[in-house]
């Protein structure tokens, strides 16, 4: 089996690769497909093809590109890996942590691709999320002692459970605080929650476990107001130690606002004003709009929701932001 797979790499031509039956081979292949030398879109496409067993045509449809374009992308990805000197073997102990992070990152992006799609039919994109979940499950079976793998799977399940409530009748995005929670899939939530409990005591807590823990707090709350926001703030405090991603700080500001009031949240936003990575970001404006609304300043909230609408590149998000501004304006 290993030699057949290696032959495929050496020839570097798209062909029908059998999905490896042995657990170890699948794991080796997963590590190879998520090689750090690849850009995430290439890694995602290659993983779907070589590990997921999707046809090139299916992957092309999922990403809304012509078949030939996707075939080329996958071909080039294989060439890149070959050029990087990758061999068909598991990473060494010293390489493993970084390589595993790479794999988890690719799977996370694949899930997100399916979860936040803005075009194409719903069915295609659900396939991507389901595929990401399936691959993460296999990874967990092959690497049961990696807490972050369990954390990522938990995060995917807890997020996926909200799918039915997330999109409005005309494809507009519905944020967490406005979702109809009766549409959440309780079985999937239970499975995700159990994984969070299982992963947390396993050792050093990583960012996927923390994100999953936050998702679990949301999933257990009957409503936005009855959510344990203090617990969420604590979890974000921990997450901020692991990551300097300003979006984490932004989300934390929302949580702090729920505990200490919107003015406090707005103060925290002011300190993110000069954060280069948030410049022109629709997220900062959207959060500001949200907090201003909560503070009762509807007029200014409208201004910032409209700024956010002009800054996003996601149509469902733009539709949501514009509708939000319109509804607030009507209530002025």
């Amino acid at each position: 089996m290993a030699t057949e797979l290696w032959a495929d790499w050496a020839f570097v031509s798209p062909s029908d690769v059998d999905v490896p039956a042995e657990r170890d081979d699948a794991l080796v292949l997963l590590f190879m497909c998520c090689h750090p030398a690849l850009t995430p879109p290439s890694a995602i496409a290659l993983t779907l093809r070589a590990v997921g067993g999707l046809t090139t045509a299916e992957i092309a449809r999922a990403f809304l590109v012509p078949d030939a374009t996707m075939a080329q992308r996958i071909s080039r990805a294989k060439l890149t890996i070959k050029a990087a000197g990758a061999s068909f073997s598991l990473p060494t102990d010293s390489e493993r942590p970084e390589r595993l992070r790479s794999v988890l990152h690719v799977l996370y992006l694949m899930f997100n691709e399916g979860y936040t799609s803005s075009s194409g039919t719903t069915l295609q994109r659900t396939d991507l999320s389901n595929e990401a979940i399936r691959l993460t499950r296999s990874l967990r079976a092959a690497a049961p002692n990696d807490a972050e793998v369990s954390g990522l799977l938990a995060l995917m399940l807890l997020t996926d459970a909200r799918r039915a409530a997330r999109t409005g009748s005309v494809g507009e995005l519905i944020p967490l605080d406005e979702q109809d929670r009766t549409l959440w899939d309780r079985e999937t939530i239970a499975a995700g929650a159990a994984l969070v409990s299982e992963a947390l005591p396993m050792g050093a807590v990583g960012s996927y476990q923390l994100q999953a823990a936050i998702a679990r707090v949301h999933s257990e709350a009957p409503s936005t107001d009855e959510t344990d926001w203090r617990q969420i703030v604590l979890l974000y405090d921990l997450l901020m130690r692991l990551s300097d991603n300003p979006v984490v700080a932004l989300n934390r500001a929302v949580a702090v606002a729920m505990v200490e009031g919107p003015e406090r949240g707005l103060e925290l936003l002011a300190s993110l004003e000069h954060e280069a990575r948030l410049q022109g970001s629709h997220r900062l404006e959207a959060v500001r709009g949200h907090l201003l609304e909560r503070a009762g300043d509807r007029q200014r909230a409208v201004t910032h929701f409209l700024l956010a609408a002009e800054a996003t590149s996601s149509e469902p998000e733009r539709n949501y932001l514009r509708l939000k501004a319109a509804r607030l304006t009507a209530a002025l």
Partner: protein, 131 residues
Amino acid sequence: MKFMLMMNAPSGKGGEYNVTSWPPEDLQAHIRFMHDLKRDLDKAGELAGAEGLAPPGQAKIVSLGKNGVPAVTDGPFAESKEFLAGFWIVDVDSPQRAYEIAARASSAPGPGGKPLVIPIEVRQVMQAPPA
């Protein structure tokens, strides 16, 4: 035959296409209209592509700069009266069918639910010569 149907929107604030000033139910109806149009074309097998474009505030003008480095400036020019809001590419049997679809797109509702009667530019996508 493939045709590109282009929807232009007037630039600048004010005017009928300024969706941000519409009542919410009219905005909702407009969004629903576009959603349904795309869905119907897809179901009929006539949709070869459809995209909404990011607003002109996000647009850049790029040309070849010094030493082959892209020269990027903010665009489009402030004087332009219109910008391309989005397009559909339809795969149909005749120009007449393309015009029917364009007329439907043109009837997208605006304030008060009235059809906006947006002028849609229709151009055939060049194709290979017949065998």
